[in-house]
Amino acid sequence: MDAFTTHTGRAVPLRRSNVDTDQIIPAVWLKQVSRTGFEKGLFAAWREDPSFVLNDPAYAGASVLVAGPDFGTGSSREHAVWALQQYGFRAVIAARFGDIFRNNATKMGLLPVVLPAATVEALQAAAEADPATEVTVDLQARQVRWGSETAGFEIDDYTRWRLLEGLDDIGLTLRHAEEVAAYEGGRQRWLPTTV
């Protein structure tokens, strides 16, 4: 996965709550078996509306999405994360995230940042007032900075370390293969197998 240390870019304010993963990438886009090309499906239905914020040229090339609460609820489709990344987003800021989306994002190196609702609003307002506003998402310092503002955010040490290093979870787990084998030796005998 991509490592994430610090990223500076412009922000897109998405003033909607409960942006579910069916909106981020509608189901028709999930038929592909490759891992690429999902940026075309990002917010596919909403992008048909010329007034949708991503269609505003002022936000072209922005890389930080600032959304309403409960972003990424619903389906477990990791395609939502791929679509955001492939479109060019490096971080998503919201007051609350759907658990699975948030987990998927940290597996792929798209940083989900939780900030208080009022702080998210302030950042959205700043990006609306001046779309050229640069936002820095600093995982090292656990801070989001723009203009003269600084907001700290929380993220657990382990996930932060993994993101900073860009480490693949499977490789980390395989270091503990002996413990997995030992556990398997003690499983209850009645547990089902699919064979």
Binding site: M1, R15, R16, S17, N18, D20, D22, Q23, P26, A27, V28, L30, K31, Q32, V33, S34, R35, A45, P69, D70, T73, G74, S75, S76, R77, E78, H79, V81, R96, G98, D99, I100, N103, N104, K107, M108, D156, D157, Y158, D169, I170, L172, T173, L174, H176, A177, E179, V180, Y183, E184, R187, Q188, R189, W190, L191, P192, T193, T194, V195
Partner: protein
């Protein structure tokens, strides 16, 4: 201090615990389908890895498949299904393909085979994996990176979630179902209410539910934001399991049941959050908006946005849904009725719909889609298909069907459905489609009148 059911199952599966790291959990059963697995198998291939435990893995074709007989017309869908077949063969994973007697929606076939048992950890690249919690299993949805992780290692690193108790006291009134209960729960706690939690459903009304009803309730835990939903196993659970193909037998059965009986929350255990609901006050429930928390009793009217917790979202939702505040929900006309999905595609659900449709005629396009080929066979053995066909409904093959707009069963833009599925998101059932979530009984009654209707209204 005592432990909750979720904590007991979690602790039983910790392979490794270290300071400052998530627990490494062992996964007892991994369910796989065509949509969220191709990139995971690809990842294995690129890294030269194998599936660690093909014997704890099972695959089916459900999301993408048509529910009428014949080949898959859409070449992209066809390629995805063929990719699953190729991957299952290459990695030695049992697959139930289209047309197979064991094929069906992934969350319907696990319980049906007896593969879903109390105290297990179960994952799937699908958020409605929470369904399996009805057996007292810890079951949750994962993304494709995690699917690959489980395929490669049969484990998953995870942080222990918080615990929430939803205590449902009293008795559900006649005609009020598990679906109405869970829709009312979501409306009460909101789509983010369960975030970070495993929910345990408890109380007299939950104990009184059949396994099918319990699965309906646990299925929609994710719609309240929860990672998983659980119900402690009891005699109802054991009776459902006994004799199923993969359930233990003989001395193993006795040992298993003895262990399963220990899988209940200790009396002195403490939940992080407790929510209380009185079942006896509930009535048939429907959604009016574009998330499952935007619901109301069928007796109510479409609400004023300003009277809802999130007025801006409600205004957007009403605009998308083409509804006006103050309209009685019973006056909302629908074009299509869908009975099916992992929420309500089991035999009990089809019986409930058939009971309403017997001797009546539908006024809307009505799709009855069994959740699995076995459910289909069982329904036909009871003659339910004849009831549906006589009423003018379509009796389909098994699959996810109109639950999500990625197979041929979709709504056209602006079309409105009453659906027994679990998500009323914008475009969920097809671009521009409008969805009202309902129980199977309400779906069937709605098909008869063409307006949102409870069976008691007929």
């Amino acid at each position: 201090m005592g432990r909750t059911l979720a904590e007991k199952v979690w602790e039983q599966h910790v392979v490794r615990r270290a300071d400052g790291e998530p627990d490494l959990l062992y996964i007892d059963l991994h369910l796989v389908h065509e949509v969220t697995s191709p990139q995971a198998f690809d990842g294995l291939r690129m890294a030269g890895r194998k599936v660690r435990r093909p014997d704890l893995t099972i695959a089916t074709e459900d999301h993408n498949v048509p529910t009428v007989l014949g080949p898959i017309a859409d070449p992209v869908s066809k390629a995805q299904v063929e990719t699953l077949r190729k991957n299952a063969a290459e990695f030695g994973v049992r697959l139930h393909p289209m047309g197979d007697a064991g094929q069906g929606v992934v969350h319907i076939i696990g319980p049906q085979f007896g593969l879903t048992q109390p105290g297990m950890t179960i994952v799937c690249g699908d958020s409605h994996t929470s369904t399996h919690g009805a057996f007292g299993a810890l079951a949750f949805g994962i993304g494709t990176s995690e699917v690959e992780h489980v395929l490669a290692t049969q484990t998953l690193p995870a942080y222990r979630p918080k615990t929430m108790a939803i205590e449902v006291s009293g008795e559900l009134p006649y005609g009020v179902t598990a679906k109405d209960l869970i829709l009312a729960v979501i409306a009460k706690i909101g789509t983010g209410g369960g975030q970070g939690h495993v929910v345990e459903y408890r109380g007299a009304a939950v104990r009184a539910l059949s396994m099918e009803g319990r699965m309906t309730v646990c299925n929609m835990s994710i719609e309240a934001g929860a990672r998983a939903g659980m119900i402690a196993p009891d005699e109802t659970t054991f009776a459902y399991l006994q004799g199923r193909p993969h359930a233990p037998s003989g001395a193993d059965w006795d040992a298993a049941v003895e262990y399963w009986r220990s899988l209940r929350t200790d009396d002195d255990a403490v939940f992080d959050t407790v929510v209380e609901i009185d079942a006896s006050a509930l009535t048939p429930f429907v959604t009016w908006g574009t998330n499952p928390g935007q619901g109301a009793p069928l007796d109510a009217v479409v609400p004023e946005p300003d009277d809802t917790p999130d007025p801006a979202a409600a205004r957007r939702a009403l605009e998308y849904m083409g509804l006006r505040a103050g309209t009685p929900l019973r006056e909302v006309e629908v074009d299509t009725v869908f009975v099916g999905s992992c929420t309500n595609g089991r035999l009990e659900d089809l019986r409930a719909a058939a009971e309403v449709l017997r001797g009546r005629t539908v006024r809307t396009r009505t799709l009855i889609v069994p959740g699995s080929m076995q459910v289909r066979a069982e329904a036909e053995a009871e003659g339910l298909h004849e009831v549906f066909q006589a009423a003018g409904a379509e009796w389909r093959q098994a699959g996810c069907s109109m639950c999500l707009g990625m197979n041929p069963d979709t709504l056209a833009p602006g079309e409105r459905s009453a659906s027994t599925s679990n998500r009323n998101f914008e475009g969920r059932q097809g671009k521009g489609g409008r969805t009202h979530l309902v129980s199977p009984a309400v779906a069937a009654a709605t098909a008869v009148t063409g307006r949102l209707t409870a069976p008691a209204d007929l």
